[in-house]
C-alpha cells in the first residue's frame, strides 16, 4: 500500500454522508461494496473500496473532491463498470464515486443539434432518446446497453462506427469538470469549434478520471442517417480479408459505417453463445462485417452492391446480405458477444486492444499466430479492422494453472502490444490503459509519459484522482 494515501475513517464516512446524503453511501457492508471492486476486465482483478458515494450533482462532487484532496483519500470515479482495462477498480481503496445517480438527459437542443447529459446516462438510452427527434448520436461503443456516456468520454471509447464517425472525442463539444481541488471548470459548450488556447477539453477526453471528474457532457448530434445494410463476408485467409478492406472502402460511394473483423473461431464461439446462427462458409478463416448507409431504401442495393462486388473481386468466398433490422441484429449480436462467448470457456479471459496502421494488420495477425504457437494457446481475434484496432483474446490452456497462465498471458499480451508499437501502433485503441497496461504504456510512450505525468502533477498534486491508472504507483490492493 502506498503510504501517501489515508484510509477512510468513520469520521470521514460521516462527512461524506453529510455531503451526498446518508442514503447515498455504502460503507461497512462487504456484500454491497463488492460489485464496486471490479469491472469487466476479467474476474481476476478486483480491489475493495472503503466507501462508495453516489452524488447527485456537481456541487456535491466538488465538495467530495475538495475533502478527499485535503485528506489525501483516493477517489476512483466509476461509470457502469463496463471497462475492460481495470480503470474503475479502486486499487488503493478509498472512495469510489459512482455516477449512477447522475443519469439525467438535461437537454436535447434540436436547433444547435447538441445533447447535454449527465455522465451516468446509459449511452443506448441517449441514442434512443435523440432518435425521437430525428437525431443521431454517432459515438457508439459496442457495449450497447450497459456503458455510461461518462465512461465513454473518460476512455475515449471507440466502437464499430469509428471509420465513418470518429471515436468519442469527435462528438464531445463541451465538458463540466471538477478538478481534484474541487474547482469546477466549464470546457467548451454548445459551440462547434474553438481555437482559443490549449484544448483542455481534448485533454480531459480519454484521461480516464486521472485529471478531473466529468459532471456534465455536451455532445454533438447529427441528423438520423438513412437505412443501413450489413454484409457478412467470409474469406479463406486473414490476409485476403484485410486486403479487401481498402478496396471495399474505395468502392463505396461514401465511407462504410463499419468494417469489422472476426476470425472463424470467434464467430463459432459467439454463435454457440448467442444461439444466433448465420450463414457460414466451410473454409473461411476470417469474416468481415461491412455496414453501409444509404440515402433511402430504394438506393440501398445500389449502395452495398459495389462494396460486395469489390469484396468478391478481392477474393471473398461469398457475400451475405442483411438489410432488415432482424437479420442485421443477428450478425451484430454475434460480433458484440465475441468476448462474452469466450468467458464461458475461460472466465478470466482478457481482451488485448492494440492499434496499428491498417496495412500492418496481416503482419500483426501472423505475429499473433506465432504467439499462439509459442504459448501453445488459442487466441481468437476480433476487432475494428478498418481502424487497425484488433482485440486478441488468449484463452487459458487446460495444461496451465491459473497462476502460470496469469503470468504467461501478461507476457503474451505485452509482446503483442509492443509489436504493435514497433509497427507504428499503440498499446490501446479504445479500451484505455487503466492499470492493466501501465507498464506497456511506460515502455511504449516513454517521453510522452513524462509530459503526461507533469500535467497530472499540475492538476492533481496529491495524486488522489484514480490513482494507479495510466501511471504505476507502487504496490496496490488489487487481487
Amino acid at each position: 500500500m502506498v503510504d501517501r494515501f489515508s484510509s477512510v475513517t468513520r469520521e470521514d464516512m460521516m462527512t461524506l454522508a453529510r455531503i451526498v446524503g446518508e442514503n447515498n453511501i455504502l460503507f461497512d457492508d462487504a456484500d454491497r461494496l463488492a460489485p464496486y471492486s471490479r469491472d469487466e476486465s476479467g474476474s481476476g482483478h478486483s480491489a475493495k473500496p472503503d466507501i462508495v458515494v453516489k452524488p447527485q450533482n456537481t456541487d456535491q462532487i466538488s465538495r467530495l473532491a475538495e475533502y478527499c484532496n485535503r485528506r489525501h483519500i483516493p477517489l476512483t470515479p466509476r461509470g457502469a463498470g463496463s471497462g475492460l482495462a481495470g480503470g474503475a477498480i479502486p486499487l488503493f481503496g478509498g472512495v469510489v464515486l459512482s455516477f449512477e445517480k447522475m443519469s439525467a438527459i438535461l437537454e436535447i437542443d434540436t436547433e444547435n443539434m447538441v445533447a447535454v447529459v449527465e455522465p451516468g446516462v446509459v449511452t443506448n438510452d441517449l441514442c434512443l432518446r435523440v432518435a425521437e427527434d430525428g437525431l443521431f448520436y454517432a459515438g457508439y461503443p459496442m457495449s450497447v446497453q450497459s456503458s455510461f456516456i461518462g465512461g465513454n468520454v473518460a476512455c475515449n471509447a471507440g466502437g464499430a462506427k469509428v471509420i465513418k464517425y470518429g471515436a468519442t472525442d469527435a462528438h464531445v463539444l463541451g465538458l463540466e469538470v471538477v478538478l481534484a481541488s474541487g474547482e469546477v471548470l466549464q470546457l467548451g459548450g454548445k459551440r462547434r469549434k474553438d481555437s482559443s488556447g490549449y484544448s483542455l477539453l481534448r485533454l480531459m477526453v480519454g484521461s480516464e478520471g486521472t485529471l478531473g471528474l466529468i459532471t456534465k457532457i455536451f455532445l454533438r448530434l447529427i441528423p438520423q442517417p438513412g437505412p443501413t445494410a450489413d454484409l457478412l463476408v467470409p474469406f479463406a485467409t486473414t490476409e485476403d480479408a484485410v486486403a479487401a478492406v481498402p478496396r471495399a472502402i474505395m468502392a463505396s460511394q461514401s465511407m462504410p459505417v463499419a468494417i469489422e473483423f472476426m476470425d472463424g473461431a470467434s464467430l463459432r464461439h459467439a454463435m454457440a453463445y448467442t444461439g444466433n446462427v448465420v450463414s457460414q462458409v466451410d473454409d473461411a478463416e476470417a469474416y468481415l462485417i461491412i455496414q453501409v448507409e444509404a440515402a433511402g431504401k430504394e438506393s440501398l442495393l445500389d449502395t452495398y452492391r459495389p462494396v460486395g462486388e469489390a469484396c468478391m473481386e478481392a477474393g471473398a468466398l461469398e457475400v451475405f446480405v442483411a438489410d432488415n433490422p432482424w437479420a442485421s441484429e443477428k450478425i451484430w449480436s454475434i460480433r458484440r458477444n465475441c468476448l462474452e462467448a469466450l468467458r464461458v470457456i475461460d472466465p478470466t479471459v482478457e481482451g488485448g486492444d492494440f492499434v496499428v496502421p491498417s496495412t500492418e494488420i496481416p503482419t500483426m495477425m501472423r505475429f499473433i499466430r506465432g504467439m499462439a504457437q509459442k504459448y501453445r494457446a488459442e487466441i481468437p481475434c476480433a476487432g475494428h479492422v478498418a481502424d487497425g484496432n484488433i482485440h486478441p483474446h488468449p484463452l487459458k490452456p487446460n495444461d496451465r494453472t491459473d497462476a502460470q497462465w496469469e503470468v504467461q498471458r501478461r507476457q503474451l499480451l505485452t509482446e503483442i502490444a509492443l509489436k504493435a508499437v514497433e509497427l507504428g501502433g499503440a498499446v490501446s485503441g479504445e479500451h484505455g490503459v487503466g492499470f492493466l497496461k501501465n507498464d506497456i504504456l511506460a515502455q511504449s510512450k516513454r517521453d510522452e509519459l513524462r509530459v503526461m505525468k507533469a500535467i497530472k502533477d499540475a492538476l492533481d498534486p496529491h495524486g488522489i484522482l484514480n490513482p494507479g491508472k495510466l501511471f504505476r504507483l507502487g504496490e496496490h490492493k488489487a487481487e
Partner: protein, 265 residues
C-alpha cells in the same frame, strides 16, 4: 417430374411497438419498417433446401397478400432462392381478417394449381393468430400438417415430425399437402449478394381481386366476419418483490422466496 412448392409469406413490422386503428381494429402499417415474418423464413428455407437437392426439377413460388411495399418481402424470399413471386394487392383486400386473408390466398393458389407442397410459418409475429395456414388448407381441401419441426420429401410422400405436447408425432402424407412450420425446422440462410441482385431484377406478378377471380363480398374488411370490439394496450409493469437476507438470514429469505413462488399463479 417437376416438384412445385408454394410458400405463403407475410410482411410484418419489425418494430416492437405495434399500433392499432381503434375503429377498425386493424394494424397501422404506414411508415413502419417491415420484413418477412420470421417463421415464414423457415418455410422459405425449407423450400430452398428441397430445391438445393434437385435444382433443375423444383420450382418455388412465393405468394403473399399485402400492400405494394410487401414486394420487398417477396424479393427477400426470391433472394434466398425462390423462383417466382406473386403479390395479391389491392384496396379491396385492406382490413382482411384471417378468414378473408385465407380466402384471398386460396384464390391466388387456384391459379398455381397443380402444386405439391404449400409451406407457411406457424403464425405471424404481428397478429399471432396461427389461423391462416390451417384455413387455407381447409378451403383448398388439402391435408394439413401443423407444428412441423422436421420434414422430408421422398417420392411423392411427405414425412413430417410434429411437435406435440410431451413428444413428437411422425406423420406421413401423400402430396399435395400444406405444412405449417416451426422455427426448430431449420436455420434460415442469409441471402447472398448474387441472390439479392437476381431478386431485384425479377418481375413480381401483382394481382388484384379481379385478377384472382374473387367474389368481392368475401374480400377485405367487408368480407371479414371478425369484429374487433375493443382495442386494449396491455400495461407493462413489474411487481418486484425483494427478499433480503437481513436479520433472519439467507435461509429465511429463501423460504420466503419459495413460498411466494408456490403461491404464484
Amino acid at each position: 417430374m417437376l416438384a412445385r412448392i408454394v410458400v405463403l409469406i407475410k410482411q410484418v413490422p419489425t418494430t416492437e411497438s405495434v399500433r392499432l386503428n381503434e375503429e377498425t381494429g386493424t394494424m397501422i402499417r404506414t411508415g413502419m419498417d417491415s420484413a418477412i415474418n420470421p417463421l415464414d423464413l423457415h418455410a422459405v428455407e425449407q423450400a430452398v433446401r428441397i430445391k438445393d437437392n434437385a435444382p433443375d426439377t423444383t420450382h418455388i413460388t412465393v405468394l403473399s397478400m399485402g400492400p405494394s411495399q410487401a414486394r420487398s418481402a417477396i424479393r427477400e424470399a426470391l433472394a434466398m432462392g425462390c423462383d417466382e413471386g406473386i403479390l395479391l394487392s389491392g384496396r379491396e383486400f385492406a382490413g382482411a381478417d384471417t378468414w378473408a386473408t385465407a380466402y384471398t390466398l386460396v384464390q391466388g393458389l387456384r391459379g398455381l394449381f397443380p402444386f405439391d407442397l404449400v409451406l407457411c410459418g406457424e403464425r405471424a409475429t404481428d397478429g399471432e393468430t396461427g389461423q391462416v395456414g390451417p384455413m387455407v388448407a381447409a378451403l383448398c381441401g388439402l391435408p394439413l400438417i401443423t407444428y412441423v419441426n422436421r420434414l422430408t420429401w421422398d417420392e411423392g410422400t411427405i414425412t413430417a415430425c410434429r411437435a406435440i405436447e410431451g413428444g413428437t408425432e411422425i406423420v406421413s402424407c401423400p402430396l399435395p399437402v400444406l405444412a405449417c412450420v416451426l422455427r426448430e425446422l431449420n436455420e434460415p440462410r442469409l441471402p447472398t449478394l448474387a441472390g439479392k441482385v437476381r431478386a431485384h431484377e425479377l418481375d413480381i406478378t401483382v394481382l388484384d381481386g379481379e385478377g384472382i377471380g374473387a367474389d368481392k363480398s368475401l374480400l377485405g374488411l367487408a368480407g371479414s366476419p371478425t369484429r374487433v370490439v375493443k382495442v386494449i394496450y396491455p400495461s407493462f409493469q413489474r411487481n418486484t418483490q425483494l427478499f433480503l437476507a437481513n436479520d433472519e438470514g439467507m435461509e429465511a429469505a429463501l423460504d420466503h422466496l419459495e413460498t411466494s413462488l408456490r403461491r404464484a399463479p
